[in-house]
């Protein structure tokens, strides 16, 4: 495989990797927020 094709695949890989990392980060943030919401709700109920 020539260098030109390797760098094209590297570019596409980088684009998808950045998107994937962001999706993972907002998924983790979603979980953290849900846990925090449950915790604060329990605190208010007490």
């Amino acid at each position: 495989m020539n260098r030109n094709v390797q760098y094209m695949l590297l570019g596409l890989g980088a684009a998808w990797l950045i998107m994937f990392i962001y999706v993972v980060l907002i998924t983790l943030r979603e979980r953290k927020l849900r846990k925090e919401l449950d915790r604060v709700r329990r605190m208010v109920e007490k």
Partner: protein, 227 residues
């Protein structure tokens, strides 16, 4: 309802992207001078279009907040700006990889690249600023000012390839009177813009939901402290 819209958009965007990738990789020929690497343009340009329009939209929403003092505008501006920064990052990364082959260097300090990097840093700072301020109205006011400044810079970056001589290529898309691409080669760029815009809308909807949950947490905390 929101879940159904998200699923519908994801299915549509996924199918469109798969069809378009097939066109890009199996039907389009290599470019005469650049070879296979030119295909990066199908992600680089749509990502930067979404980044720039997102920053502009964020600025309009920020102005909406400054005029109305309605925090919903601020929440939407923050969501749109964050997602746009992801697309701007993709634009920078893919552009740099393309430059390594075509220019022989990863980076050149020309007007377009430098102004776009400055723009990326400003909006990175925008997100950091939001984390640093707890009071919602103060946070929204400061963030709105940064968003406006950043968007002015984004516009300068957009026009830089027309205003100055740059290492970065001059406009190639027909809507900017570039006309540097064959019609068959340009169309997949716009299909990718549409597909990535759908993904972008999904991410903004998810972020908006998170902003709503964060606001609910703030309200409950205040209630708990007031008791």
């Amino acid at each position: 309802m929101r879940e159904k819209i998200i699923i519908g958009l994801a299915v549509f965007a996924g199918a469109l992207l798969a069809w378009n990738m097939n066109t890009i990789f199996t039907q389009l020929p290599d470019e005469l001078n650049q070879g296979a690497i030119y295909r990066i343009i199908y992600f680089h340009v749509p990502a930067n279009i979404l980044g720039m329009t997102g920053f502009g939209l964020g600025m309009l929403l920020s102005i909406g907040y400054l005029v109305t003092k309605d925090l919903r505008y601020d929440a939407l501006a923050a969501s749109v700006t964050e997602v746009s920064l992801v697309f701007a990052s993709i634009g920078l990364a893919t552009g740099s990889i393309w430059a390594r082959i075509i220019w022989g260097v990863w980076w050149a300090w020309d007007y377009r690249l430098t102004s776009w990097l400055v723009c990326w840093l400003i909006f990175g700072g925008y997100l950091m600023l939001r984390r640093a301020i707890d009071e919602p109205n103060q946070r929204a006011r400061f963030a709105a000012v940064v968003s406006i400044l950043g968007s002015v810079n984004a516009y300068i970056s957009y026009k830089s390839i027309e205003w100055w001589t740059t290492q970065h290529p001059q406009p190639v898309l027909s809507i900017r009177n570039g006309g540097g691409m064959a019609a068959g080669m340009e169309a997949p760029i716009w299909w990718n813009v549409l597909a990535l815009a759908c993904f972008s809308a999904i991410l903004v909807m998810v972020r908006m939901r998170q902003e709503a949950v964060a606001n609910e947490i703030d309200t409950l905390r205040r209630m708990a402290h007031a008791q």
